[in-house]
C-alpha cells in the first residue's frame, strides 16, 4: 500500500510516495538519489547503511520508510555544513581512516551518534561503540584514532 511519508532530510522537508513497508535504504538510494548510504548485508549486521534518525544511528536496510515519518533524517551527504566538513569527516581524512571507503559513511554516522552519547570516550569505549560496524579492508586502527581525535576536536570547539 502506497503512502505519502513526510520527514526532514538533511535539513530539507521531503515527501515521498512509497509502500510503507519498504526499507528506508532503498528509498534513499533510488527515489531520493542519496547513494552515500550503502547496502552491505541487508540484515543490520554490517552498518554500511547507517543513517541518523533524530540523532540516533539507525540501520536503514531494516528500517521501514514509514518509521521516519515526521522525523529528522541525516545521511552522509548532509553531515558537512556546505564546504565545511564535520570534525569526524576531517579526522577520517587526516588519519587515513579508510581504504575502499565503502563502509566509511556508516562508520562516520555511527561514530557521530556514539559521540553524542559519549563525548569523551576512552579507547576501549570506542572499540565497544563501533563493534557492530564491519570494515573488510582492516582500517579499524585508524578509524579508532580518527574518532578519538574528532572527539577531542569537538570538545574543544564546544567548550567556552
Amino acid at each position: 500500500m502506497t503512502k505519502t511519508i513526510s520527514f526532514t532530510l538533511n535539513g530539507r522537508p521531503v515527501q515521498v510516495q512509497a509502500a510503507a513497508d519498504r526499507m528506508l535504504l532503498w528509498v534513499l538510494r533510488t527515489e531520493l538519489g542519496l547513494t552515500g548510504t550503502k547496502f552491505g548485508c541487508g540484515i543490520s549486521q554490517c552498518g554500511a547503511c547507517t543513517v541518523l534518525v533524530n540523532g540516533q544511528a539507525v540501520r536503514s536496510c531494516t528500517e521501514s520508510v514509514l518509521s521516519v515519518e515526521g522525523k529528522e533524517l541525516v545521511t552522509i551527504e548532509g553531515l558537512a555544513q556546505g564546504e565545511s566538513l564535520h570534525p569526524l569527516q576531517k579526522a577520517f581524512i587526516q588519519h587515513d581512516a579508510l581504504q575502499c571507503g565503502f563502509c566509511t559513511p556508516g562508520m562516520i554516522l555511527t561514530a557521530y551518534a556514539f559521540l553524542r552519547r559519549n563525548p569523551s570516550p576512552s579507547h576501549a569505549e570506542v572499540l565497544a561503540g563501533m563493534n557492530h560496524n564491519l570494515c573488510r579492508c582492516g582500517a579499524h586502527l585508524r578509524i579508532v584514532e580518527a574518532i578519538l581525535s574528532a572527539a577531542a576536536a569537538m570538545r574543544g570547539a564546544s567548550s567556552p
Partner: protein, 729 residues
C-alpha cells in the same frame, strides 16, 4: 509496463545520463596537448609477470596496441590513464605520485583515469601486489619519456642546448637564468607527438625523488567521507531497471522449469528467462529482489555428500597430479641423520572474500555495442567475458570501473557484469545487478580448503636435517622454504583456482593466494622443530637463514619487540612467523591470551617488520600492513564457510564472522629502509603470516598446538584437551 507509483521531487534532477566520451572524443579534446604513447614491447610486457589470479580458462593474449599513458593539456594539466583500479589499496594516490616525480610536475596538476577499457592502456588486472613493483617501472618510464620530449621542445623554444635546461613543476627552465622558462602547457600547444617506448629510459634515482617516498594522504578521501564517491551501484541511467536473479538452492542443481504466474501483472515487473539466467527486473531494486521469491522454480534432484567436516578427507583421497616445486639432496638421507622427527597435517577452511560492496554492475547494451560499469579488479578481463557472452567483438564492449568497494581477489571474476549485460540486451534497457549478501556468499570464489603434510627432522647439532612438504589445493605460491635445508622435497597438487570438479563450489584467488596456507603450515612446523632442537624459535630460525633479507626482517622484529629468548612453552603467549610474498619479506611477532575455559583467543599485540624495497607512499604502505594484520585475524580465528548439500550454510555476517573493532590488538608496523632496491608488493605480504604467528602464540600460551584454521573456540578447547601432559604434572 506500468510506471511505478513512486516519485519524489528530487528524483528527476538526480538522474543524469552518463555518456562518457569515447576515445575519439577524448583525444579530440586533448588534441592541443602532448600525448605520450607507449607501445608495450614484448620484453616490457613480460616484466609484468602474469599471475594466474583467477582464470578458470586461459586468458587471451593482449594485443600489442598503442595506448596513451598520459596527456598534457594546453593549460599544463596532466591526465594519466591506467587499467589498474582503486579498491582501497591506494594507487589512486601512489600512481600520480610516481608520475609527478618522474615528469617533474606538481602532484595537484595530475588527474588519473583508472580502469576504463576505452581510454586506458590494456592491463591484465589489479592483483598480486603488482601495481607498484611490475607496472610501476612502465608507468614511470612513460613519464620519463614525456619529460625527455618536453626538454627537447624546450630547447627548441628557448634556443638553448638541452644540457643547460632542467625541468621543475611543469616548466622547462634555463639553469643559468631561472626566469627564462617555458611551461609544459605552452610547449605542447598545437603539437601531437607519438613516442613508442622500446628502450626503458633512465629513471630518477631515489635521491632525486621529491614526491615518491613522502607519506601522502589519500586523494580520494574527501569524496569518500562525504558520500560523493561513486561506486558502481551508485550510478543511475534514465530508464534503468534493477535485477533480482533466481539462484539455485545448491551448486550443481539444474533448473528444470520456472513458473512466473504468481508475479503480479501491471506492477512494472519484467520477467526474463535466458539459458542459465532467470531474473525479475523492476525500477526499484528491493521490489525486484523480493519478487524473485514469487517465482516457483523446479530443479532436478541434486545432492552433494560433502560437508565442511568431511571435506579434507575427500580432498586428500582425490587423485590429482602432484608436481615437484623444489628439491635438493635426499630426504631419506636427511631422515637417517635425524635425531628427532616431527610430522604434521595442517588444514584450513574455505574462506570468503566478503568485500562490503557486493559484486555490482550496470550495463547498457544498445544495438551492437555495450557499456558496462562494474566493480571489478579486472576491467579488460570483464570486457572479454562480456563480449563473449553477448557474442560481440570485444572492441564493441567498454568496461568502466568506478571506485571498487574492496576486492581481495574476488572481483577478478565478473559474473555479475555478464549477467547485467545479458539482461540489458534482453530487455533493451540499462540493467543494474547488485548481488545480495546471500548471493555473494553463494557465488563467491572462495579461498580453497587445503591440506598440507609436513615431515621434518633435526640433527644432533640442532639443525634441520630434512624437510618434506606437500601442499594440496592451496597452490605453491608462498611454499618457499626460506630456511637452509639441504635435504628437501616440496611438492604441490592442485592450485588455488582448481582443478575443477573436486571442490563443492568455485574457488579462486584470495589475498596472497596460497601464501596464508603455506605460511601457516611452514611456520607452525618450524616452531615444533625449534622445540625439538631445544632452541628459541627466533634463534632457531636465524640458524637457518642465510637469506639476508629474511634474516634482517626477523632480527628487526625481535629487536623492536624486545624479544627475550625462551625454549619450549613459555606461558607468555608469544609467537613468531616470517614470510615472503610479492618480493617483500615480513617478520611478525604476536602476543595472545587464551581463555582456557571458553577457548577464546584474544590477540593483544602484533608487530610486523617488513622490507619491501623502495617505498613509494610510506603512509599507504603502512596502511596496507595494518589492513593485512587486521584482516588476517579473521582467517586465523573465525572465518570459515560451513556447508552441506552443495550450498554454504554461512550466508551472511550473522554467522560468518569478520574481524571486529573489539578484536583490535595493539598493532605496530615497521618498514625497513631499502631505497636502493626496486619497489616490491605491499598489498598482501603482511597477511600471510597471521595464521602461523597466532597458532605459535597459542601454543606458547597453553602448550596446545592448533593444526586447523580457523582457530575457533571449539578447536582451541579440543587442542587443549589433546595436549601432552606437562612432565611431572
Amino acid at each position: 509496463m506500468n510506471t511505478p507509483a513512486f516519485r519524489s521531487p528530487l528524483e528527476a534532477s538526480q538522474v543524469q545520463d552518463l555518456r562518457p566520451p569515447t576515445r575519439r572524443e577524448f583525444l579530440k579534446n586533448c588534441a592541443a596537448g602532448l600525448m605520450v604513447w607507449v607501445a608495450f614491447s614484448p620484453s616490457l610486457r613480460a616484466e609484468e609477470t602474469p599471475e594466474p589470479a583467477n582464470a578458470p580458462k586461459p586468458r587471451p593474449k593482449p594485443r600489442a596496441d598503442f595506448n596513451a599513458f598520459l596527456s598534457i593539456a594546453a593549460d599544463g594539466r596532466v591526465t594519466c590513464f591506467t587499467g589498474k583500479i582503486e579498491m582501497g589499496q591506494g594507487p589512486v594516490t601512489s600512481l600520480p605520485q610516481m608520475l609527478a616525480d618522474e615528469l617533474d610536475v606538481d602532484l595537484d596538476q595530475v588527474e588519473i583515469i583508472m580502469g576504463d577499457t576505452e581510454l586506458c592502456p590494456y592491463d591484465q588486472g589489479t592483483w598480486g601486489s603488482l601495481t607498484t613493483r611490475s607496472f610501476g617501472p612502465l608507468w614511470r618510464a612513460a613519464a620519463a619519456e614525456a619529460r625527455a620530449v618536453l626538454l627537447a621542445l624546450g630547447a627548441e623554444a628557448l634556443k638553448l642546448p638541452q644540457a643547460q635546461l632542467r625541468t621543475q613543476s611543469g616548466f622547462v627552465i634555463d639553469s643559468a637564468d631561472a626566469k627564462n622558462r617555458i611551461s609544459y602547457g605552452q610547449l605542447t600547444q598545437g603539437k601531437r607527438i607519438e613516442r613508442h617506448l622500446s628502450v626503458a629510459p633512465d629513471l630518477k634515482k631515489p635521491a632525486d625523488f621529491r614526491i615518491v617516498g613522502k607519506p601522502l594522504l589519500r586523494r580520494d578521501a574527501r569524496d569518500k567521507v562525504t558520500g560523493k564517491a561513486k561506486y558502481t551501484g551508485d550510478l543511475r541511467l534514465p530508464g534503468m531497471l534493477y535485477a533480482g536473479i533466481l539462484r539455485p538452492p545448491a551448486h550443481g542443481a539444474k533448473l528444470l522449469r520456472v513458473d512466473r504466474s504468481a508475479l503480479p501483472e501491471g506492477k512494472g515487473f519484467v520477467f526474463i528467462e535466458l539459458p542459465e539466467l532467470v531474473a525479475v527486473l523492476h525500477e526499484q531494486p528491493d521490489l525486484a529482489a523480493n519478487a524473485v521469491s514469487l517465482l516457483r522454480a523446479e530443479y532436478a534432484p541434486f545432492s552433494s555428500p560433502l560437508t565442511d567436516t568431511n571435506i579434507y578427507q575427500h580432498l586428500e583421497t582425490a587423485q590429482i597430479p602432484t608436481r615437484v616445486v623444489n628439491q635438493g639432496g635426499s630426504i631419506e638421507q636427511g631422515r637417517a641423520r635425524s635425531k628427532g622427527v616431527c610430522e604434521g597435517r595442517y588444514l584450513n577452511a574455505y574462506v570468503a572474500h566478503a568485500p562490503i560492496e557486493t559484486h555490482t554492475a550496470l550495463a547498457r547494451v544498445e544495438g551492437d555495442s555495450a557499456t558496462v560499469w562494474a566493480s571489478t579488479q579486472n576491467p579488460f578481463g570483464a570486457r572479454d567475458e562480456i563480449a563473449k557472452a553477448l557474442g560481440f567483438p570485444n572492441t564493441k564492449v567498454r568496461v568502466i570501473t568506478p571506485f571498487v568497494g574492496g576486492g581481495f581477489g574476488g572481483k577478478a571474476v565478473n559474473m555479475q557484469a555478464v549477467e547485467a549485460a545479458l539482461l540489458s540486451k534482453a530487455c533493451g534497457r540499462p540493467v543494474q545487478v547488485m548481488w545480495s549478501r546471500e548471493e555473494e556468499f553463494f557465488k563467491d570464489t572462495f579461498r580453497p580448503a587445503a591440506v598440507v603434510h609436513v615431515k621434518a627432522g633435526v640433527d644432533e647439532r640442532g639443525h634441520m636435517a630434512f624437510w618434506h612438504y606437500d601442499v594440496k589445493y592451496a597452490g605453491d605460491r608462498g611454499s618457499d622454504l626460506l630456511y637452509d635445508v639441504a635435504d628437501r622435497l616440496l611438492t604441490a597438487s592442485g592450485n588455488f583456482n582448481g582443478p575443477d570438479g573436486y571442490h563443492p563450489f568455485p574457488v579462486g584467488a584470495w589475498r596472497a593466494p596460497g601464501c596464508n596456507t603455506n605460511a601457516f603450515a611452514r611456520e607452525s612446523h618450524i616452531d615444533q622443530l625449534a622445540a625439538l632442537a631445544g632452541a628459541d624459535p627466533i634463534e632457531f630460525r636465524l640458524r637457518h637463514l642465510s637469506n639476508p633479507r629474511a634474516a634482517r626482517v626477523l632480527r628487526a622484529a625481535a629487536e623492536l619487540w624486545g624479544w627475550k629468548p625462551s625454549v619450549g612453552v613459555s606461558g607468555r603467549g608469544l609467537g613468531v612467523a616470517i614470510g615472503l610474498d610479492a618480493g617483500t619479506y615480513v617478520a611478525t611477532i604476536a602476543e595472545v591470551a587464551v581463555d582456557q575455559a571458553t577457548g577464546k583467543i584474544t590477540v593483544k599485540r602484533v608487530l610486523c617488520a617488513q622490507e619491501m624495497g623502495l617505498v613509494i607512499n610510506p603512509a599507504g604502505a603502512r596502511i596496507q600492513m595494518e589492513g593485512c594484520i587486521t584482516m588476517g585475524l579473521g582467517y586465523a580465528l573465525s572465518e570459515e564457510i560451513r556447508f552441506k548439500d552443495g550450498a554454504p550454510t554461512d550466508t551472511n555476517f550473522d554467522t560468518y564472522e569478520l574481524p571486529r573493532f573489539s578484536w583490535l590488538p595493539r598493532i605496530e608496523t615497521h618498514i625497513l629502509e631499502a631505497d636502493n632496491s626496486p619497489p616490491q608488493g605491499g598489498g598482501e605480504p603482511a597477511i600471510i603470516v597471521m595464521g602461523g604467528v597466532l597458532a605459535n602464540a597459542v601454543h606458547d600460551a597453553t602448550g596446545a598446538r592448533l593444526f586447523e584454521l580457523p582457530m575457533t573456540p571449539e578447536r582451541v578447547k579440543a587442542a587443549l584437551k589433546a595436549r601432552p601432559k606437562a612432565p611431572g604434572a
